[in-house]
Amino acid sequence: MTFRFVALAAIAAPGILSAQIRASELGTVSQVIDGTKITLEYSRPRARGRETLFGTKAVKWNETWTPGANWATTFDVNKNVKVQGLPVAKGKYSVWMVVRESGNWTVVFEPDAHRYHMSPPDSSSKQVRIPVRIEAAPFTDVLTWSFPELRMNGGTLSMQWERARVSMNVEVEPSLAMTFPAGEAAAYAGRYVFVEKDSAGKDKTPTTFTISHEDGTLKGQFTPNDPYLKKFALVRIAPDMFAAAVYDKNGQIYEVLKPDMVLEFKRVGGNLTFTIRDGDDVLYGAGTRQH
């Protein structure tokens, strides 16, 4: 029995040898972004004192290499996404990289998800092949996949090992439209008298709530200003129902407060009113538009 065969048998029988200490321990990283779940499963090779890995017998130049070890790294996604602007259909893929001494590397998403690292796929039209730039990074001993940046509609997927880092922009399909048609904005825009309820359900002193249409988005703001909400987006989630969405310092929406801050509008006798309720359907307050 050759060493290679023994190693393969060990990997193929995890039930028997699951307590075995491995050179490349199995790891997973999973991230949900707006309902899209992305999971990478991979064995994690270690540099083990080797200063250089790329361009050596560990990972040869121009090799189609799985950024992991043993069974190829897998990328599993439950909805369609875009990686570096290229569509990747929902499903499970094995992940490979064509490593080059100079120029871009190529990340390959191969539909055959279950492949051993010594069986890289040939190029095919079924693959998604993504050119990626290699960045210099601090030395990383254990090959690591991560999501170091997240946004409302995507994030950065990163692989780091030795002194190389590959970063890919992942875009997910948004579940909500943040924009609001200008032609419909007048139905909600205006100044409202807003009465907040206290913990006993009694009315507090009336304040002002203003709805405007700015930069293609319906926005709301309390006066005096709420320090957490500031000027926030109103995201339509159903007819006459909106969720509050708060902005970060860069003007990017980072949280939609659903179900925790939902506005429901009603038209009664020529008056437009709204309520704000939380996830327990507790009334936070009510507003009436001023003529």
Binding site: A238, L257, D260, V262, G279
Partner: protein
Amino acid sequence: MVSSRLAWARPDFPHPDPRPGITGKNVLTKEQLAASPRLIGLFDSVREIPEVLDGIRCNCGCTAPPELRSLLSCFEGKGMARDCSICQGQARLAVRLHKEGKSLREIRTAIDAKFR
């Protein structure tokens, strides 16, 4: 008001059709809710409109058919709604909208908009 508790909870099965003649007899009683007295009123309200709750999919993501048929099921048997704020929130919304005269279709739309 800040929470991300629904980030993972987006079941993709349809709303169930309410079973003809469904009753609220299996909804937990105040005796069974002795450890959760603040929920007795909610369970009582659910018991009064089983034909509505039985036509609503539960969006909490804790379980799925066939173990859980509808939102009504969350208030029966083991009464998982006792410990699930999503189940409670959905039911409170359904009860209120039903009192406001909304149809089952409108209630489903509102619940999906807020909790899915």
